[in-house]
Point group: D2
Chain length 159, copies 4
């Protein structure tokens, strides 16, 4: 492979710092609407990227789930509570922060925030459940639960 | 204009029945994701279409807001609480139902449901506020408040 | 079922007039971008809806393809050539027109236009091929080819 | 600011190597459709990100355009010709490559490719024009033209 084309993209899936996942998101035209700001549902998509990359980094992404016989095949969002605090704009560099705050055999709760510099523009609690390929509820296999538990955010984690 | 091309599209903005707005949404490829079902944030977009068309039909859409001196220029979503109950699929015909349930001088609360036949696939409470072009909070002008109040959903409205 | 809720939505999948499929599309916030107009890739999504509904109406949609043993399972876009002629805006009522202009055993070419009143805002030629579930090229079964051929647009069709 | 939160995200806007802009794009759920692959219009969005970041890096982004009196305010896509060669999938790491291949006073032509490893999944030629806030055609100010010309891709640039 041509060395000019051997690209290494560090941090493409963000970073985990003190059990909090952090990733950057640039606001492009596709994320905005005619009122001049980021379209409200875009923040929800950005948060899904944060959750996917957190799970990717800790090894419990949907691909990893399928390794277990009788285990779940995917994650499904069950409930969200979201606050839209300040509008973000085209070209903004946003930071998506994700914390796993609760873990049960058949669900986990994540708390997510999107910031622009010092300003919190959006925050969301999201309940996610493991499901089978047909959409039926499943339980997390013990090894997956253990991984989640090891990354549960604790107040003493904040500096 | 050629009479073959004089199209009339009844109900393009849905209908209001007993103070509830109802509109159909067909699920296309763009609304789904690789897991085979409707992508979660798509329901939030469908609900925005329902709110926009409800406001369009009762004459208090963003264009109508700007008619008043010092009045608001737009609507902004402040908070949503959403439950994802059953997955919807490609080609499904979904019904988006919207009810205005609370109205204050500087916000309104809508309750929305998305159904497929007899099944409720999604439901959401959404708090919306009027804002100026620069994003500052505004109050609804009295005539606009009166329109909202006249369409507030009451339990005795359900058959 | 409550008669107030027995909704009939005529023309939800558009209409075929003189072998041309016609459907309305309302521009919502989600389709626009911060520059104040419809985001360019939105027109491409609107055209996909037009093709899907045309195929739905003539009975050769992806679901119908799968009925044939060894036949294709889906459609895939191979090539598009698109011209963006005039910007469309929030709240516009656009008309998507779709014509099937060429049909071969393993592809079809559609010509699509999006209009706002008398103005053509967008036009596109799109080459679509039938594929298997794994993405391999397939040929159209003869009965499907016959349906396409019967809906090929001919110049004498235009009024 | 807490040093744990002093994030530096190198290459967020990609890199320019031999006058070719290169940026990574991860495929998330939002980019796919129920057929299991990346939705066709998603590639067009990815390419827009590549162009925006190329222009951002060389200092002729839409914000930079507005600095000139009487100059353009924005870029508008006029025409695209796109080939969809191989399907990309959830979790793929794609590389978007952008080359400026022609520059005139009132337009530029970019050639873009999206690759997954050694495979080209998508390629596109796109004609872009500068416009005023009201959508009227404008010419590029000379300093902007000079920047574009200095980044025009030449065959001798490829290794």
């Amino acid at each position: 492979m041509n060395p000019d084309q051997d690209y290494h993209w560090p941090d493409l899936a963000g970073r985990i710092v003190n059990r909090e996942h952090v990733m950057p998101v640039r606001v492009y035209y596709e994320d905005t609407d005619h009122s001049g700001v980021v379209y409200h549902a875009s923040y929800i998509r950005f948060c899904e990227r944060g959750r996917s990359d957190f799970l990717r980094l800790i090894g419990v992404e949907h691909k990893d789930l399928r390794a277990t016989e009788g285990g779940p095949d995917a994650y499904a969002v069950k409930r969200i509570e979201a606050d839209f605090m300040h509008p973000a704009m085209i070209d903004d560099l946003l930071i998506v922060r994700t914390r796993l705050v609760e873990m049960r055999g058949a669900s986990f709760l994540a708390r997510q925030k999107i910031e622009r510099g010092e300003t919190t523009v959006f925050s969301m609690n999201v309940l996610v459940v493991p499901i089978s390929r047909e959409g039926r509820p499943r339980r997390f296999p013990k090894p997956v639960q253990d991984v989640f538990v090891s990354f549960l955010y604790r107040e003493e984690n904040s500096a």
